[in-house]
């Protein structure tokens, strides 16, 4: 008998007797004989709790993690510091083991946490409305594209070449499945090529341009200028960004973005081999009712007290069925609770300080690596945040191998996907990297050995 089922043999006997059947198999008599199955021969036998822990420790131990290897790899997932209080809060069973808050009277904790999260996203993005989260940044961007197509009644999605390649892959998949067209706008000097953009927009058939800032290359785009061009062509501007960066970078909403989407791993969620974290999406009021996903709203209860409920549900799958704005049900709720604890601990000052340290350490690392003579900046003079592209003298594969041998995880190799960036090395420097670690990186990467 498994430790997760309380019924004793006597309980079972009594229950079967009450139901009036001789055995549990009698309850399965509705399954046609042709599909009845005995056992699961290839599932390994049950383990006690100590054995489960041993098995998982063994698997975990077969990995080398970023506590042991200073990580200069980003490309979508970043090693930021997470205060201990975050995990302490999201470990609470009251947050972990409840369902989507359909019964507001017994879900005010989750609902208020969502409401607060929505407010924080609005503040950071400069937008009017946020939903309660999406699966991840890539799928949030794809849903944003679908939203833009529906709002503009146009069928073409454009994106910059410097958008995260995985995001582009998800965009392609969603576009194919929804019958949308797409096109890529080249980058020049690390940011979207304005002339090429003019060309792409001139047909007047684009629903939206997806621009990422900080881009996949770490470069910061001129959102305002892009917004003017895009709006001039009757399209919407989707800005893909990152909540941590928005403590330092201007809010896209203040620069003309129509939809802001992105990934929230950076605020309070561990790397965890790429998930779970969460995606976010925020819009202004005109697009509010077209937004996918859950939304929490403030109201009062029958005694006039402040209360929170899921609202605008008529957009959603359980009511609108095939006419819903999206099929999303569950999102990544616990991850946004983590984000809101993180953002409450840091506050505006903390987020700015983290951003300041990132800029200082990035600049320090880039300067030192340049000085070694083995690297040069791919896009000199273009502002970047947390990540930058260096062009290495020697092949990146060899470089990263050397670093790994020295116990360091090197940057992302760009050349396979961006052949125009020969020996391109995308280096991420978060506030978690110390001067000592950077110096060691420089010694190994910039050394002659």
């Amino acid at each position: 008998m498994s430790r997760y089922t309380p019924a004793t043999a006597e309980d079972r006997r009594r229950m079967l007797e009450y139901i009036g059947v001789g055995s549990i198999d009698d309850l399965y008599s509705g399954i046609p004989a042709g599909v009845r199955q005995k056992d699961l021969p290839d599932i390994p036998k049950a383990l006690s709790e100590p054995e489960v822990i041993r098995d998982l420790r063994e698997l975990a131990g077969a990995n080398r993690n970023i506590d042991d290897l200073p990580c200069f790899l980003g490309a979508g997932i970043y090693d930021h510091f997470i205060p201990a209080a975050v995990d302490s809060i999201i470990s609470r069973g009251e947050f972990t083991t409840c369902y989507t808050p359909y019964q507001p009277e017994v879900s005010q904790g989750t609902l208020q946490a969502i409401f607060q999260y929505q407010t924080m996203v609005c503040e950071l993005t400069g937008m009017e409305v946020s939903n309660a989260s999406m699966y991840d940044g890539a799928s949030a961007t794809a849903e944003a594209a679908v939203l833009a197509a529906s709002a503009t009644k146009r069928k073409k999605i454009l994106w910059g070449r410097n958008v995260n390649p995985q995001t582009k892959e998800v965009l392609r998949t969603y576009c194919w499945s929804r019958g949308l067209e797409h096109g890529e706008v080249p980058a020049a000097g690390g940011t979207i090529d304005r002339e090429a953009l003019d060309g792409a927009l001139s047909a007047g058939d684009a629903a939206a341009l997806v621009v990422q800032s900080p881009s996949f290359f770490g470069t910061v785009e001129d959102i305002k200028a892009l917004a003017e061009k895009v709006h001039g062509a009757g399209a919407l501007l989707i800005v893909v960004t990152d909540l941590l960066a928005l403590g330092t970078l201007e809010a896209p909403g203040a620069l003309g973005a129509d939809i802001v989407a992105g990934d929230g791993q950076t605020v309070g969620n561990p790397a965890s081999f790429g998930g779970p974290a969460f995606g976010f999406i925020a819009v202004n009021k005109p697009l509010m009712r077209k937004m996918p996903g859950r939304i929490c709203g403030q109201t009062v209860d029958s005694r006039g007290r402040r209360a929170f409920v899921l609202t605008l549900q008529a957009r959603e799958q359980h009511i609108r069925r095939e006419k819903a704005t999206s099929n999303i049900c569950s999102n990544q709720n616990l991850c946004i609770v983590a984000a809101s604890v993180y953002l409450s601990l840091l506050g505006p000052q903390g987020l700015a300080e983290v951003g300041g340290q990132i800029m200082a350490k990035t600049e320090y690392a880039l300067g030192r690596l340049e000085k070694s003579g083995k690297f040069r900046r791919a896009f000199p003079g273009v502002p970047c945040f947390r990540e930058a592209v260096l062009l290495s003298e020697r092949p990146v594969k060899e470089l990263n191998r050397r670093l790994l041998d020295a116990g360091i995880i090197g940057g992302y190799s760009l050349e396979p996907l961006y052949p125009e960036l020969e020996n391109g090395w995308l280096l991420a420097v978060t506030e978690n990297r110390t001067k000592q670690e950077i110096d060691r990186l420089v010694a190994v990467a910039g050394g002659d050995a």
Binding site: R289, A314, R315, I319, R320, K323
Partner: protein, 132 residues
């Protein structure tokens, strides 16, 4: 018992239409608003949109759900009732005074195929019998 004015034409889907100076004024019936419960939002078609008879062209949302509104006749949307954007609850107060859409009617002949007061009253009686 839901109100059923004498001078309107009705659909089986609980829309009404009235001709005013050659323009079709369309709304939802008292029975419909009652069945939906508290109306919270109305999504209107764009002006200038051409619709066919029976095509869904607006959505009335209540807390319980979202209800498609089907055009009683073919035509072109001339005007939508903006007042309902701010105050959707007016639909609950008086579903006949608060129209949704004004239509340029393509073929006035289509009106003849709609239910008159008596036929719609009979339909409602049938529905009420079914729902006990």
């Amino acid at each position: 018992m839901a109100k059923i004015p004498q001078d309107l034409r009705y659909t089986k889907d609980h829309e009404w239409i009235r001709m005013e100076d050659g323009v079709g004024v369309v709304g939802i019936t008292d029975y419909a608003q009652h069945a939906m419960g508290d109306v919270v939002y109305v999504e209107f078609p764009e002006k200038g949109r051409k619709v066919r008879a029976g095509e869904d062209f607006a959505v009335v949302e209540s807390v319980k759900g979202a209800n498609d509104v089907f055009s009683p006749v073919s035509g072109t949307v001339l005007e939508v009732n903006d007042t309902l954007e701010e105050s959707p609850e007016l639909l609950n107060q008086d579903a006949y005074a608060n129209w949704l859409v004004r239509l340029e009617v393509a073929d006035p002949g289509e009106l003849d195929s709609l239910l008159d007061h008596a036929a719609y009253a009979a339909l409602l009686e049938e529905l009420e019998a079914e729902n006990g």
